[in-house]
Symmetry: C2
Subunit: 506 residues, 2 copies
């Protein structure tokens, strides 16, 4: 078979590997390639191939007929210098696709089949549409609980697994969907100040206006090498880092890149995704937060209970000590929505500032209290009081400052977006509803999380009184276009409902 000269094509195709061949390339012709075929790229010395989708190039300025171009991600994966001789051939369809077809037909898959699927996904053998087919066939009630367990186990097995060599490694996770709600940045310093090991890695926001990693990045460097991360955790018992490059349950990351654009959020996938990541990160004890409310991900208490049982079943069988807490998800938690505004809330609470948002503080103390009770030396029911004491005494603040210092203070210290617009109450009365989805949307339109100072600052929460013309919240933005879009969106739908004045009735 003929050899082609490798060439990096500086195009970012995100999570999709793309290979480029000139249409006049002899290999293109003789192999019967067609654009959007998948091909395997082999090193001359027969390492594991890189799989990529093929695009045909008709311009020699981009690529010569004797070259093989790879998009940035694919080039990085192949990890060979420009000009290296490589062979290409048709990618064999992944053998686990048979199992996906059985799943589409409504059948139940075995552990071995889930292992086959995750191995092929990890090996980049699945195209986006094949992953979509797998995810949709598993969506809704497509997976029985044993299958959720199999998928979790298979996802853990296909990645690295951290071992902290301690009997108690704690973590917390919220299933998401509530703007603000930056509890991790409070729970971690409180729990670590108590001496528990809590090596917290978080994601950046994908569909939300801020993730914990985005918000922590306002204060400190969050992109830590595995070595740095270990050093910091050993010294401070904690970190607040971005988990992006850790290769923990990498299949989960790949699947998420298809789930998110499809807005698929089935219970089975959610449980497998969360638990595989935590187990791979070395957690032994985990607290799961399920917010319930009309605009939360989970909208009824019965759905929350069902999800809780699925978490418990899977966690128990994976040897994880798992607690689930069902919380109030009727509105955003805290005042700020967007990295800078959320970081401000967190630091106000750690500083015991009189303006600190009480709801975020209260929720963080509850979560921290539950985690502290994982400690065998803490008496049942005493966790909350210990957490409050750690926070009130300033020990949580000191721990947070130590973590920030160790990770590296952000020298830029971004501030709230300078373009500001208050959104006013159209009538006097009591706030009867705040729409989580609309508030998140407005904050994203304003530029969050890419512009850390952009977002929404809430001045009124559920049950509070407001007079007509008083501000409900303020929009912050950095760029005029974003600012304009966000303000426009509030005209159509402010996200707030105002009812008759007087105390809220439930």
């Amino acid at each position: 078979m003929e050899t082609l000269k490798l060439r990096k094509i500086c195009i970012d195709t995100y999570r999709e590997n793309v290979a480029y061949l000139h249409r006049d390339c002899p290999v293109y012709r003789s192999e019967g390639f067609q654009a959007l075929n998948k091909i395997e790229i082999h090193k001359a010395d027969d390492g594991a191939p890189v799989i990529a989708v093929l695009n045909a190039v008709d311009d020699e300025n981009i690529l010569a007929p004797d070259e093989l171009g790879l998009s940035e991600q694919a080039f990085e994966q192949l990890d060979l210098p420009d000009g290296t001789g490589v062979r290409v051939e048709h990618a064999r369809p992944p053998s686990s696709l048979k199992a996906v077809h059985r799943k589409i037909a409504g059948e139940r898959l075995t552990l071995e089949e889930y292992q086959g699927i995750t191995l092929d996904i990890k090996g980049n053998r699945y195209s986006k549409i094949e992953m979509a087919a797998f995810l949709v066939s598993c969506a809704e009630t497509g997976m029985e609980r044993d299958e959720v367990l199999y998928l979790t186990r298979a996802m853990v097995e296909t990645g690295k697994r951290l071992d902290w060599s301690e009997p108690l490694v704690v973590d917390k996770h919220c299933i998401g969907g509530i703007p603000g709600n930056r509890t991790s940045m409070l729970v971690v310093p409180i729990v670590a100040a108590h001496g528990m090991l809590i090596p917290k890695t978080s994601s950046r926001a994908i569909t939300s206006p801020a993730g914990t990693a985005d918000t922590m990045a306002v204060l400190a460097n969050v992109e830590l090498s595995p070595d740095q991360l270990h050093k910091i955790v050993r010294r401070e018992r904690a970190c607040l880092a971005w988990g992006g490059k850790a290769q923990l349950a990498p299949v989960d990351d790949i699947l998420i890149s298809v789930e998110r654009p499809l807005s698929l959020d089935s219970p089975g996938q959610m449980v497998a995704s969360i638990l595989s990541k935590k187990i791979a990160a070395g957690s032994t004890h985990l607290l799961i937060d399920i917010p319930v409310g009309p605009t939360a991900k989970i909208r009824s208490r019965s759905a929350a209970l069902q999800l809780r049982k699925l978490f418990e079943y899977t966690g128990d069988h994976m040897g994880l000590q798992l607690e689930v807490i069902i919380t109030d998800g009727r509105q955003p938690v805290g005042r700020g929505i967007g990295p800078v505004l959320e970081a401000r809330d967190v630091m106000q609470i750690l500083n015991n500032h009189p303006d600190a948002p009480a709801d975020l503080r209260e929720k963080a103390l509850q979560l921290a209290g539950r985690i502290l009770e994982f400690d065998p030396d803490v008496r049942g029911g005493q966790g909350y009081v210990i957490a409050r004491d750690i926070l009130d005494s300033g020990r949580a603040l000191a721990k947070m400052e130590a973590i920030i210092r160790e990770q590296g203070v952000n020298p830029e210290a971004p501030v709230p977006g300078k373009l500001q617009q208050p959104v006013l109450a159209s009538a006097s009365g009591t706030i009867t509803a705040i729409d989580n989805l609309q508030m998140a949307r407005i904050a994203r339109l304003a530029g969050a999380p890419m512009d850390p100072g952009a977002g929404v600052d809430l001045h009124r929460k559920l049950g509070e009184e407001v007079k007509q013309g008083e501000p409900l919240y303020t929009i912050h933005a950095e760029f005029a276009a974003d600012f304009h879009f966000a303000c426009e969106a509030t005209v159509e739908e402010s996200g707030y409902r105002i009812g008759a004045a007087g105390p809220t009735r439930e």
Copy 2:
């Protein structure tokens, strides 16, 4: 909003529109774009936008920061000269995705919802993964028969529809899966010689070793403009053309580009796909051929009957006169597999050549007979005899020659591939099974349909005797690499089963 200069990027991304923005492009930054986002490209004068997936470029030799690059297909769709000022923005998620999520949740969709989905797909608003999600949620028993009807109707409505202004416009269609089986090229001249209108448009092979369009292309030009096609049909009552550019049920073409790589072939999608194309092509009377056999698409008589009823139900409600014939799909039909070899079979039959494959002739006569009986003047049961008379008398050949002449004789007249290798019987006995899938695979490995002379020529069929060392079939190829792959594949699995000598038992 800022304007970018349009630039054609000579990359063939097949059916996926791709837009390229330089990472330093001010719009990329301010709009918060990310690779694999979908964007809308607007003309300055506000026409319908073109939707494309975004790739970020890090090389000014490919694209400057003030330019918007479009892949070949997207550039063609936008239909503006290089350098035109265009605006880009985030593509709004298609509103019909809500219906897809309802379908994933197992709900039944309305006609209006299917119309919304097809309109959005036609408008290029669906990404590949969104289409995959839709198709998988409809797969297997995902659609009730009313939904199949709705989807068929919606697909017809979203494209052009031909009107031949005659009460009887006939067509035939085989659901596929049987190598060889080139009945259309016999049925069309027979039926047209009788005077019936049969404007046949066919697809090129996608997963098979030859489509009717590939095989007819061996003999004649098949890429006809709508004007040419109409002129030829008016004159000869028939054509045998490629249907690719007709914009008939275009949503079907788009969905197929996702179905095929997923090997999805659910009954509902199949019926909607076939019937929408035929209705859009102006057919009033249609014969459907469902081959049944252990390696055919449909493997049992009961599955064939179920599929027949779905065809009938949908056809009846769409006002189509539809007949279904269930045929023997236990082995390839005819001798040749691959464009040139299949064209040879067809011409031998039309010429009443003594070596002509009897099974292909017989099947074509049966199909043509059934179609002739759509003619109110043909007495029930007389179709077959009329068809045979037309064939035996040379009138079918004369009609075929006229069609070839009108469409334009192929001056190259390709011949069977010069690299040849017989595959020999490993034992003496009776041929008890021929695997359709394996024979198709070997022919494709040999280079069919891209190399028209490549393929497989069968020397033995089911029930025939063979002595050890006698050839079962011959592989033909043009290129050494293909030839090698095809020959290698037969070593593993010849595709033939040879049983004890003696008459075949069923």
